[in-house]
């Protein structure tokens, strides 16, 4: 059950973190 929980959170967490990272990258690049 714990492995399933971790896996599910990774499946949604990784793309979300990527999206936040790309947005922050643009924000920093553009506000410089």
């Amino acid at each position: 059950m714990k492995a399933r929980l971790v896996l599910l959170w990774l499946i949604v967490g990784v793309p979300l973190a990527w999206g936040v990272f790309k947005t922050l990258q643009n924000v920093i690049k553009l506000l410089q």
Binding site: L16, G19, L24
Partner: protein
């Protein structure tokens, strides 16, 4: 997949099931459908399907293309209202699968529309079919999450609805990457990107379909006891969706959501030109794009933050805060603009947009407090028509007020001041609606046969 796997009875969780497995299932669906907020990345490529690098005769105009998004958002609200009770009846798994089929199908029909250069097929595909996927997908996990987290309903629905905000952050760079990847001498890559995104999003939503579980009837978290004396607006009864929408409480909450969304969405649509015009010569188009990215992050983060806060301070107090703080910020923004304080201006809009997102995320828990859990998903679906109205009202109001000001000789830098004061007025209406909220009369409570 057999009918049995999709039935509500097949989704009842085993006794040792960890309830924290349910939010990722909901987030998977919301991250996918949140793509709609980034649809504008396709707008320019869709106007260059023939000319590729430039619009050519026969290409669609920008004005024609933006209707795809507007139709999708309008259908989102109406399909959530129409299919809300069906979603409650069939359970989250079947509803999520139908949402996945509609949303992915919208992309695929849209791709055929691009291939045949038929704009109507795009309107029907992404706009109507995809819009149904948006509406059903948006409401499908809401009541399930509320039932799993009776102790933290705001936090639970906040997580899912944060996913909707996060979906745009993923889809914007993903669309740009896919179009660059598929670009060739004969295609600008938009058709291939539509097909790829349809397939990717379908698979992603199916993860939610497989993972979602409903709690057994009368399930409660271990050790959790409902408050003996619930907060003023929290009901112990349940109100059916068909009854709820006839109560004044439904329409007051409709006004609360509509005013909160109108104030945020109007600014969101014009954020880039607004900051450039107010700080003319100091903010470039590139920096303005950074500002839009920043407020999108606050829009997403506010969904989780404010909805979680509402579990502690109560739903009515949370919206009071949105409206009072919103009025304060909107009324000082013109002064901040005249003073040339860019940092303060950006900070004010980050807070405003966090409250815009927070308004979306806190409303399901507010509905649960007022109408109970029985048909909260269906009631939420009907309330989302406020979003459709605000989606038209906000941008129209902001752009028309600006044009009116400019036509009467007001300098560009000051053309948004009246808009800000009008937003204060809208927030005041929302504040009064929220202030008027009272518990639903017990005569409306559902009586078990």
């Amino acid at each position: 997949m057999s009918g049995g796997f999709l039935d509500r009875s097949s989704t009842i969780a085993a006794p040792n099931f960890n309830r924290f497995c349910v939010p990722p299932a909901a987030i998977a669906v919301h991250l996918a459908i949140g793509q709609v907020y980034a649809f504008s990345t396709f707008n320019i490529p869709l106007t260059r399907l023939i000319g590729l690098s430039e619009s050519a005769p026969g290409d669609w105009s920008q004005k024609q293309v933006v209707w795809i998004f507007s139709i999708a958002i309008a259908v989102l609200g109406s399909s959530a209202a129409v299919f809300g009770r069906w979603v409650e009846r069939v359970g989250p798994r079947k509803a999520m699968l139908v949402a996945a089929l509609c949303f992915a199908g919208g992309f695929l029909v849209g791709a055929i529309g691009i291939h045949l250069h038929s704009l109507w097929l795009l309107y029907a595909g992404y706009g109507v079919l995809g819009g149904c996927g948006l509406g059903i997908g948006y409401i499908s996990p809401v009541s399930t999450l509320i039932k799993w987290f009776p102790d933290r309903p705001g936090m639970a629905t906040g997580m899912a609805i944060m996913g909707f905000g996060g979906g745009a952050l993923i889809a914007a760079p993903l669309s740009v990457m896919l179009m660059a990847h598929f670009k060739s001498a004969t295609s600008n890559g938009v058709l291939e990107s539509f097909v790829t995104m349809g397939v990717i999003y379908f698979m992603f939503m199916v993860i939610g379909v497989i993972a979602v579980r409903v709690p057994p009837p009368d399930w409660k978290p271990a050790g959790w006891i409902a408050e003996a004396k619930p907060k003023a607006l929290v009901t112990s009864g349940n109100v059916a969706a068909s009854v709820a929408w006839r109560t004044p409480q439904f329409w007051l909450l409709w006004g609360v959501l509509c005013m909160n969304v109108t104030a945020g969405i109007g600014v969101l649509g014009v954020a880039s030109p607004m900051i450039q015009e107010i700080f003319s010569g100091r903010v470039t188009a590139a920096s303005a794009a950074g500002f839009v990215g920043l407020i999108s992050l606050f829009n997403m983060g506010g969904r989780f933050f404010w909805a979680s806060i509402s579990d502690y301070i109560g739903r009515r107090a949370t919206y009071m805060l949105f409206f009072l703080l919103g009025i304060l910020l909107y009324s000082t923004v013109p002064t901040i603009g005249f003073g040339g304080h860019i940092g303060l201006f950006v900070a004010a809009f980050c807070i405003i947009l966090s409250m815009y997102g927070g308004g979306f995320a806190t409303i399901p828990a507010y509905l649960r407090d007022v109408f109970g859990t029985m048909e909260v998903g269906a009631i939420h679906g009907r309330l989302l028509t406020a979003w459709s109205v605000a989606g038209v009202l906000g941008p129209v109001l902001v752009s028309n007020l600006r044009d009116y000001q400019l036509a009467h000789g007001v300098p560009k830098a000051q053309a948004y001041s009246v808009t800000m004061y009008v937003m204060c007025g809208m927030l005041l209406i929302g504040f009064l609606c929220n202030l008027s909220m009272r518990p639903v009369d017990a005569k409306h409570h559902h009586q078990s046969p």
